[in-house]
């Protein structure tokens, strides 16, 4: 087979150290006029060795994004536009990336788990109830490393259980004999079995209690550093991302509304929604403060408000917000936000420093 299927001529990463690039990704549920645009044009870049946090309320499209990027979307979900490009490790910068969305079935099967693995949200239902732990840990090895003997596979499974702090004797256990925390750790061990470059973690600790959550997160981060893989970590808990992520992307109504290095986003959030999310979770280490919720409900994806989808819930909305759709604009070197008010303010500041004269008018969307 030639690489025609997967090579994209222009596919050299925009960033030299990108490992996964998502460009203009759109995912619909259903078709035609009633289709729900769950992911509505998302650009994200995962850098090698990075933990990219994706935060947002339920329904913001963060999980759908992960499923679409890993080709695991089930009908009625459809990826209608966009590109997902994977750049294998060790490949020179001239090496073309792999067009994940165009991989033919057998190539896709081989790509899965060896290059990109997923830790799913529902630990309780993610394990097959009729197969024991050893079988479920080793079947990926059998599928991808046909040369390995049964003994080698089991040795690897044992090694993995030790990595996630589970008694090796549990290899012969069935899922119903394990606690939620144990199951989730086994799911994490499973994702590491082939040492993939990229691991997508979709709320891996949401179903667990806080103590177990901390313990598992600490272990995940330790393993990530040791194995040097890149992680997309999806959660609704922004304060958790503040601790573990290098970069945080905040999603709202199927779009990235703000993306910044973790410490920048947590200390000086620009988008009013990011600020709202931050003040609605208690910080794990910071001082006590009053928690403030975001008023209103997440928008109905079947009837998104015109203009900025967040404007009905936004305390700072101006007239333009219900009319113009904001696009991401650069606030700093790696900091972008999609907010008309902030953009206007940034422009005003820029103009003020540039020419010492303020012009507080709102810029139209035509600029972008």
């Amino acid at each position: 087979m030639s690489t025609d299927w997967t090579a994209r001529p222009s596919a050299t990463p925009a960033d030299a150290d990108a490992v996964l690039e998502i460009r203009g990704l759109r995912v619909d549920y259903g078709a035609g006029a009633h289709a729900i645009h769950a992911v509505n044009g998302v650009d994200l870049t995962l850098h090698r060795g990075e933990v990219l946090g994706v935060a947002g309320e339920s329904g913001s499209g963060k999980s759908t994004l992960a499923y679409a990027a890993s080709r695991l979307l089930r009908p009625p979900g459809r990826t209608v536009a966009g590109e997902v490009t994977y750049y294998p490790a060790g490949a020179g910068r001239q090496e073309p990336g792999i067009d994940v969305l165009a991989l033919p079935p057998e190539r896709l099967r081989k790509f899965r788990w060896t290059e990109l693995s997923v830790v799913f949200q529902a630990a309780m239902s993610s394990l097959n109830p009729v197969l024991n732990v050893a079988t479920q840990l080793t079947d990926a090895l059998e599928a991808h490393r046909p040369g390995m003997t049964r003994r080698q596979c089991l040795a690897r499974a044992r090694e993995l259980l030790e990595l996630v702090n589970i008694d090796v004797a549990r290899l012969s256990a069935y899922p119903h004999q394990l606690s939620g925390g144990q199951r989730q750790r086994i799911m994490i061990a499973m994702a590491l079995v082939l040492e993939p470059e990229v691991i997508i973690m979709d709320e891996p600790t949401t179903s667990l209690d806080v103590v177990v959550q901390r313990e598992i997160l600490a272990r995940v981060m330790e393993l990530r550093a040791r194995l040097d893989c890149s992680v997309i970590f999806i959660t609704h808990d922004l304060s958790l991302l503040a601790e573990i992520a290098d970069t945080i992307a905040v999603m709202y109504a199927g779009k990235v509304v703000e993306i910044a290095p973790a410490e920048v986003l947590c200390q000086t959030p620009s988008h009013p929604y990011s600020a709202g999310l931050l003040s609605s979770f208690p910080s794990l280490h910071g001082p006590h403060r009053t928690l403030v919720g975001i008023p209103g409900l997440p928008p109905d994806p079947r009837a998104l408000p015109a203009g900025c989808p967040f404007h009905p819930r936004c305390g700072e909305a101006v007239a333009a917000c219900s009319r113009d759709v904001p696009a991401l604009f650069a606030l700093g070197q790696r900091h972008q936000a999609a907010c008309l008010v902030r953009e206007a303010a940034a422009h005003a500041e820029l103009n003020a420093t540039d020419s010492r004269q303020a012009s507080p008018s709102l810029p139209g969307r035509a600029e972008r």
Binding site: S70, L72, K110, R112, P129, D139, A143
Partner: protein, 325 residues
């Protein structure tokens, strides 16, 4: 093993209850078997004859219910199920012993074949859900709705009467003697084709539909998505993750059906005059042959219990969750 022990005790109790019910039932019926025989002879029976009949049925008015019950158990253990009226004076056990092999072979094979084919078809159709393959679903529902005896009549009309490809009735050619020889076995198989076909078509569709529906439900489980994400081979995902979980209800369905194999496919055997238990049962009902009816009822009860026990064993092997608690 604890689980199996508890099941075994349960089945012993169930067997006792069934046998006792079988004992009490004729005694509760208004009129009863003796009156039925008297009616057949239009009352022209001497008192002695009536008395003899009572004793023959184990319904001796002078004996206590308890002593009858003990006698009933003793007879059961010695294989004495009484004498059949229809085939008088052949013992019921002999009548059943002659009819049973026919039914066991015909229905046993049919049940196994239709279950295996139906389940496998269900796995494939379920796996290909949402594609053109779903077009077989209305056809399956239609075939499932056709009663076996009616299917039998159609098949006889088409393949035996009109086309004359297969014999109309019977279990083997009447000019052969029952023995283990090539012509005889060939004749048996030849005669079994149409009755088998009449039953397979509908039941195959039943198994196929139930397996397909369970398969579709199972395939939407998270662990199937995980299996796909792991890049396992399609066959592994379909069989070890999908079918392996979806098959449990179908195993139960199979065991239940297996239990009724012995009672025979009454109407189908009647349509084809097939010499199995179903045909004998029909004769017994027709002739108010109480001892024979009771004997068949007893045998059926036992096979249902045995089949359920087999289903439990299968569950034990297939589903680790049943192995404790």
């Amino acid at each position: 093993m604890h689980f199996l022990l508890r099941r075994a005790i349960f089945y012993l109790i169930a067997a006792w209850a069934a046998i006792t019910t079988n004992f009490i039932l004729p005694r509760l019926m208004p009129g009863g078997p003796v009156e039925a025989v008297m009616a057949r002879h239009e009352g022209q029976l001497s008192d002695q004859a009536v008395n003899a009949l009572h004793i023959a049925f184990g319904l001796d008015p002078n004996a206590s219910m308890w002593s009858e019950y003990v006698e009933y158990w003793r007879n059961l253990f010695t294989g004495n199920l009484g004498l059949s009226f229809t085939y008088f004076p052949t013992p019921v056990s002999t009548v059943i012993a002659h009819a049973l092999p026919w039914t066991l072979v015909l229905l046993g094979v049919v049940t196994l074949v239709e279950w295996i084919l139906g389940t496998f078809a269900g796995i494939v159709v379920g796996w290909r859900r949402g594609t053109w393959v779903d077009a077989v679903l209305p056809l399956g529902a239609f075939l499932r709705g056709i009663p076996h005896f009616w299917m039998g009549l159609v098949i006889v009309t088409v393949f035996a009467v009109t086309l004359d490809w297969f014999p109309v009735s019977g279990g083997y050619s009447s000019d052969l003697l029952p023995n283990v020889s090539v012509p005889f076995v060939g004749s048996v198989l030849y005669h079994a084709v149409l009755p088998a076909l009449a039953m397979v078509v509908g039941s195959l569709a039943t198994h196929m539909l139930s397996m397909r529906n369970m398969m579709v439900t199972t395939l939407s489980e998270d662990y199937v998505l995980v299996a796909e994400a792991k890049g396992l081979h399609r066959r592994r995902v379909m069989l070890s993750y999908g079918a392996r979980n979806a098959i449990l209800p179908n195993v139960a369905g199979f065991a239940l059906q297996l239990g009724f194999v012995v009672s025979g496919a009454l109407l189908v055997e009647k349509v084809f005059s097939y010499p199995g238990i179903g045909y004998v049962l029909f004769q017994a009902v027709h002739n108010q042959d109480y001892p024979l009816l009771q004997g068949i009822l007893l045998i059926t009860t036992f096979t249902v219990l045995i089949a359920s026990f087999l289903a439990d064993l299968a569950f034990f092997a297939l589903d680790p969750r049943t192995r404790e608690a």
